[in-house]
């Protein structure tokens, strides 16, 4: 196998081409304020923030941009009001949004 690899170096240019095509497809659609995932993120945070006080340090926003589907994951920690005396807080996944692009 190693010997085989020695003689057959994989071409890197097709990888470069594919990576660019996927990336640019996203960058072109997501240019400016029309970025759907950006708008979703802001609105989700605003909506939750109207009802609960959000600690900005306890919010994780993750974006996974795929070829056909993108996933927006917003994790917001909200204080557990019912058991506030115990002082614990529970991490809740508040929203996951999938954005189909193709």
């Amino acid at each position: 196998m190693n010997l085989f690899n020695l003689f057959k170096r994989r071409s890197s240019a097709p990888v470069a081409r594919d990576r660019l095509q996927i990336l640019l497809a996203h960058e072109r659609t997501n240019r400016g304020p029309s970025d759907l995932l950006y708008i979703l993120r802001e609105e989700i945070l605003a909506t939750v923030g109207r009802h609960v006080e959000i600690d900005p340090d306890r919010v994780t926003v993750q974006m996974d941009r795929g070829d056909k589907v993108s996933i927006l994951e917003v994790d917001i920690e909200i204080p557990n009001i019912t058991r506030a005396t115990s002082g614990g807080s529970r991490k809740r996944r508040v929203a996951s949004a999938a954005h189909r692009t193709a």
């Binding site: 071409s11 240019a13 097709p14 081409r17 990576r19 660019l20 640019l24």
Partner: protein, 271 residues
């Protein structure tokens, strides 16, 4: 009336200044009146590549601020009487260049020349957006490499949105100039091919400039590669590109450096 052309790329180091100098000289060599303008405020280099660094008295910003007349600031090329250079200022004040100032200078230059070629700084900041602001046409310089292609795509988007022409609902005519191309590496699958880059950026091709030692040799000597070694691969690529800018229909090739038998035997002579 002159055509205003911006040479841009987003990414730095891909060959904007080299291409501005080479194309400007090539156009002047075929009889056009050309002025090349350095928009890289604070980091001027077009003067150095043109070999005019010791002749700079006034600069672009001196003209926009009324310190000097435009004709005083223009440096006539010693080799080509139809080629002139307007050097950038070395000031560290990035806001010294204003849109009104640039418009005034470009309007005056349009009346004096056939071609006004604006050498954009890298990036998408003020200098870069002002360099493209009044352009009729744009040359996007791209290396066959992922970061350069991505930045070119970004710049194409900005050309379609932030130029005067775009705001009027007109189009800036765009040309892609691929530089540092190595046909052998592309054939081996080690480098994006011309077709890959064209498919991704979908912009008409102006020329393919091969990777060549002649480019560094020319800049070492302060001479555009089209003047320094007209038979070299890059020079021939730039001549073809200049003729295509003029509207001529020229078959697309990747010119390579010819090396004679003796050259192969004894290696290249030192510049």
């Amino acid at each position: 009336m002159a055509k205003v052309v911006v040479v841009t790329s987003g990414k730095g180091g891909v060959g904007k200044t080299t291409s501005t100098a080479a194309l400007g000289a090539a156009l002047a060599q075929i009889g056009q009146h050309v002025v090349i303008i350095d928009f890289d405020v604070g980091l001027r280099n077009l003067d150095l590549v043109m070999g005019a660094e010791r002749r700079v008295v006034y600069d672009f910003i001196n003209v926009t601020q009324g310190v000097a007349k435009l004709t005083q600031a223009l440096i006539r090329d010693k080799r080509l009487d139809k080629l002139a250079l307007l050097p950038a200022s070395q000031t560290r004040d990035k806001d010294a260049l204003t849109e009104d100032g640039v418009l005034g200078v470009i309007t005056a230059l349009r009346k004096m020349f056939d071609w006004v070629i604006c050498d954009s700084p890298a990036g998408i900041e003020r200098g870069a957006t002002l360099a493209m602001r009044f352009a009729d046409e744009a040359i996007i310089v791209t290396n066959p490499e992922v970061s350069s292609v991505r930045d070119s795509d970004r710049i194409i988007g900005i050309l379609d949105a932030k130029t005067i022409r775009a705001e009027r609902g007109e189009r800036v005519k765009k040309h892609l100039l691929i530089t540092r191309y190595d046909q052998a590496r592309a054939a081996r699958g080690e480098m994006l091919t011309i077709d890959d880059v064209l498919e991704i950026l979908s912009t008409p091709l102006l020329g393919i400039v091969p990777e060549s030692q002649e480019v560094l040799r020319a800049s070492n000597l302060g001479s555009p590669v089209t003047l320094n070694n007209p038979d070299s691969g890059p020079a021939r690529a730039y001549y073809d590109a200049a003729r295509r800018l003029m509207g001529e229909d020229i078959e697309m090739t990747v010119p390579t450096d010819k090396q004679g038998f003796l050259g192969k035997l004894f290696g290249r002579r030192a510049a």
